[in-house]
Symmetry: D2
Subunit: 341 residues, 4 copies
Amino acid sequence: MTVRFGLLGAGRIGKVHAQAVGSNTQGRLVAVADTFEKAAKEISAAYGAEVRTIEAMERASDIDAVVICTPTDTHADLIERFARAGKAIFCEKPIDLDVKRVEKCLAVVDKTRAALMVGFNRRFDPHFAAVRKAIDEGAIGAVEMVTITSRDPGAPPLDYVARSGGIFRDMTIHDFDMARFLLGEELVAVSAHASVLVDKKIGEAGDFDSASVILETATGKQCVISNSRRATYGYDQRIEVHGSKGMIAAENQRPVSIELANEKGYTRPPLHDFFMTRYIDAYANEIVAFIAAVTAGTKTSPSGQDGLAALKLADAALKSVKQRKAIRLDTAAERNLGPMS
Amino acid sequence: MTVRFGLLGAGRIGKVHAQAVGSNTQGRLVAVADTFEKAAKEISAAYGAEVRTIEAMERASDIDAVVICTPTDTHADLIERFARAGKAIFCEKPIDLDVKRVEKCLAVVDKTRAALMVGFNRRFDPHFAAVRKAIDEGAIGAVEMVTITSRDPGAPPLDYVARSGGIFRDMTIHDFDMARFLLGEELVAVSAHASVLVDKKIGEAGDFDSASVILETATGKQCVISNSRRATYGYDQRIEVHGSKGMIAAENQRPVSIELANEKGYTRPPLHDFFMTRYIDAYANEIVAFIAAVTAGTKTSPSGQDGLAALKLADAALKSVKQRKAIRLDTAAERNLGPMS
Amino acid sequence: MTVRFGLLGAGRIGKVHAQAVGSNTQGRLVAVADTFEKAAKEISAAYGAEVRTIEAMERASDIDAVVICTPTDTHADLIERFARAGKAIFCEKPIDLDVKRVEKCLAVVDKTRAALMVGFNRRFDPHFAAVRKAIDEGAIGAVEMVTITSRDPGAPPLDYVARSGGIFRDMTIHDFDMARFLLGEELVAVSAHASVLVDKKIGEAGDFDSASVILETATGKQCVISNSRRATYGYDQRIEVHGSKGMIAAENQRPVSIELANEKGYTRPPLHDFFMTRYIDAYANEIVAFIAAVTAGTKTSPSGQDGLAALKLADAALKSVKQRKAIRLDTAAERNLGPMS
Amino acid sequence: MTVRFGLLGAGRIGKVHAQAVGSNTQGRLVAVADTFEKAAKEISAAYGAEVRTIEAMERASDIDAVVICTPTDTHADLIERFARAGKAIFCEKPIDLDVKRVEKCLAVVDKTRAALMVGFNRRFDPHFAAVRKAIDEGAIGAVEMVTITSRDPGAPPLDYVARSGGIFRDMTIHDFDMARFLLGEELVAVSAHASVLVDKKIGEAGDFDSASVILETATGKQCVISNSRRATYGYDQRIEVHGSKGMIAAENQRPVSIELANEKGYTRPPLHDFFMTRYIDAYANEIVAFIAAVTAGTKTSPSGQDGLAALKLADAALKSVKQRKAIRLDTAAERNLGPMS
């Protein structure tokens, strides 16, 4: 079986997903939609696909699944529309910046029994996935303490900051998902500190650029997250999981692994400086997993509920910063979450 | 000038300090006191010193300085006695487990103008000291985020746990001092989570064995600390400082640095499994620094105020765990602290 | 301009090159030939190409270039035929196992002015290429000593060993090319030792499985090569270049870069265990370079003369083992070699 | 039992050995001799020893052992004198630069049954010793290929070069001993290349500054050595042993192990820049081993025969460079060597 795809949004992430579909022997790109028609044409030409409107895709009988890469504020609407149209849906994170809106959207997904996968691509990074696999194999015994270091090479443009939902919903949200992925237990409490150390204008825009977070599960497992919007040495992305029998970690990745030695010392090149090169394999692998789930009719993961859970953690972190206390998560809602993938 | 020493306490730390004094061309061990006379005799014999009572040392004209390695609950008394006796004092941390008692003791030190140095030996670890030096030289620009990982190879005996003052006052206190040493600013807020993941009996004794802490300075600089009482891979002691222009880190140390490669992969030996081998150089270097300060008549550092500040952070962390909120430090008292070394 | 390709040989390397051509926007796979028709059909189907005979490709006006991935003993003939047919040629190494045959073949290439590139793929490994680039940028000053470690995960099948031309022509030949690539000077002397330590049957087949080689240039620059046909820890491929101002090295690559710590120590996974995964990027990059050279009409590199030079070094190494002396290379012939790329 | 020592030669190595004796609870420094009396006084004062003449030491009943740190050309004479005087002897390498002289000296040692240990300190480096231990424990199966990289931070003064015996007898000799130590088999063949790449004046003095060597044992085990008299990145001292079941290696050592990351990459400090700091532990450990052997009456190792074997390899390497062929070692003489330690 080949999964026939419609691509919504032909920007840089759209291109990445188009290539992932195009190079997958089980996937075929059938149609591309973008309000900027030139972008849609370029991608469709490269993969033998057509340019279509979103409406045409909803009605199309030759499309099994869509990849949503449009602006964030359109995600929830599009998910609902294509859930109702009976298509499998891969949606870039986040579903929405507002928890209520996400919950309403997931109710539609639930009712239509649509297959929905949210693009928390880091779960598919080969190194992070290998860490999860080692944990599953019992390599470190019971998971106890997770450490996530996540720093961007540089702050995003200020207009992006303004509409990003803030550092916790935009940046830390990946780390919240990774914490859930690695701890394997729902989180019940969040303490966070945040400040403006990189760029005062980020503060003037009502956001933070530096944050530290502690997460805790019901059984007392802990996770610390360290975020900064600027790292001169590249895109700093590390995870470390300490358990009863040992520790497993995934170190940073760099484009080339050479080392120069001279009177100044031993120098390796900086890290990747861009999330798309750092996570190039992860982007490809998540589409592989999506196609495999759709083909086999199995559960897509990470799910919409995973997206919701991460967003709630982001909201709780922000609340913790403002109220200067640990925030207890609404465990009643948490209880409804499906099992973690 | 040679500094003539009396050693109070001939246990394992006492032996370490005796050797540090004995191998220093500027120091000479004159007398040793211990309620367990055999221990005192052994050390004194090895270094050509005498066994004396504490009282005799107070009155002795041939002793310039004392090293206090007796049990914690005697520290404050001994500091006061030798401060009044006009001796320079090197005291193992902590001064006391009670803030009020420490403050009273430091008032005596203040009044007698005694030279007092507290044994926060990690400041003198060559690798950690090199990190501090690099920061001072501007290598990473302005310090922003400090990450301290500090895990013991195994939990201490339960009877020790009971009288230790708890994980924050016993174990994290080193990390609090290191945070102050590296941040170079006083801390104004603490959030902490702690739980029992290693050994239920530690919990039954009223203590925790796993903790995560966020510290924040008035300017928004942050530090995260991760503690565990058990690490199968050895004594895990890492620091990392992220700044505006870069990052500097000190990695773990191991007794031998070989690597074995076979079908299972590439394996390096575990870390040091004992704090005294891990910090062997640090113990020697702190005595070197103490002797140098006493000889030159300069300020000893870390000071009694440094000891007090770390203890206050420990108290605040415990309060944060119990009250589930960020604890604001008493900055009025903080304001009285001398400049950090 | 698009370079239209014919692929000769549809085995595992053929598939790799087909994908490299197929995913290159400047290349198109037009036809595939293989005596095993099923293999040819599979590849041609995947890339929208036709199955054709070699003869048909020679005459085809819709083919600009061929990639030769057929058995070694057909390479020289095919190069001559397609050189005469006016096609650009990419040929897997080696051109032939016999120096005379290679020289005769290159004479035809010379006369027909055909563009010929030999598949020394390691020059295109991103890490090794970065080493060469750093040297070119003066990072280590004048190159003085090159160290190449090259060990296979396991010995090839004995029937392969028998027709391989021996360890120096089959395995070390890559290292000889790498030595020339890194030293940037022709070699004038070779000393080699070889023995059978891995598998006695390799010895019975008249070959060696373990070898050490010293190469020297006219100006006294040196290179040491260490080869083994078996490494339990994976495909061991390292280069290191020491120069007047420093050293630059490329370390081994592994599929995932995680690290597990427990009471046995700190373990990273083994290396790649297969040359095709280890050099996956190099295979793609060499086709990119070939297409770029053909498109631009520039010199292809590594050239047929590079292939000949490496083969001569292999012959000299074997002679050195047998005669137990340093072998001086025929510098008159060497003098005719073009400048190194 | 305490071993009472006489120290011959109070230069920088003499000081190192004096400290090793002085800090050993089983050793005591009794007397120091040096033609430069001030140096002898300084050391003797520091350790409560006397200044004596060599003659007085020969006759002294309060001296059990001597440490010979005088200039190379006096070593053989002094060994003979103190062997006849019935003292245990620790002698800095080499015994002499001339094989005949060494053989004559060892004949005296043999006849007098004196305990003689030669200062190949690298065997006692904790990291190298751990490699040997792992081999003994079967960690890598049968040893097959040894790789030794040995580069000095900078070339020695030209007047030293002139009387050093040349690079092979002065510098590579340590690597020859390490090869024997790690291979665990006698060597039967040597091929070497050497040239002048660092400093022309070294060439004018009749020596080389860059060398590559292959060693081979009777069973075909191989060792490659890479030497240079200048490495901008510090004192480069690495060993790597490849065997049938795996590989074990000891990496370089640096004074502090911090890492700085910034836009230029990740930089660790240079290596040790001086053999005495790099091998500080090795110098102490070899004296510990000597004292232990003398106290227990067991065989001292490395022995005089080990010194002779390494010197013969140096001579053979030089011959190989000059005759441009592999040199077969005189196995009859080799056969007389005792078992390797």
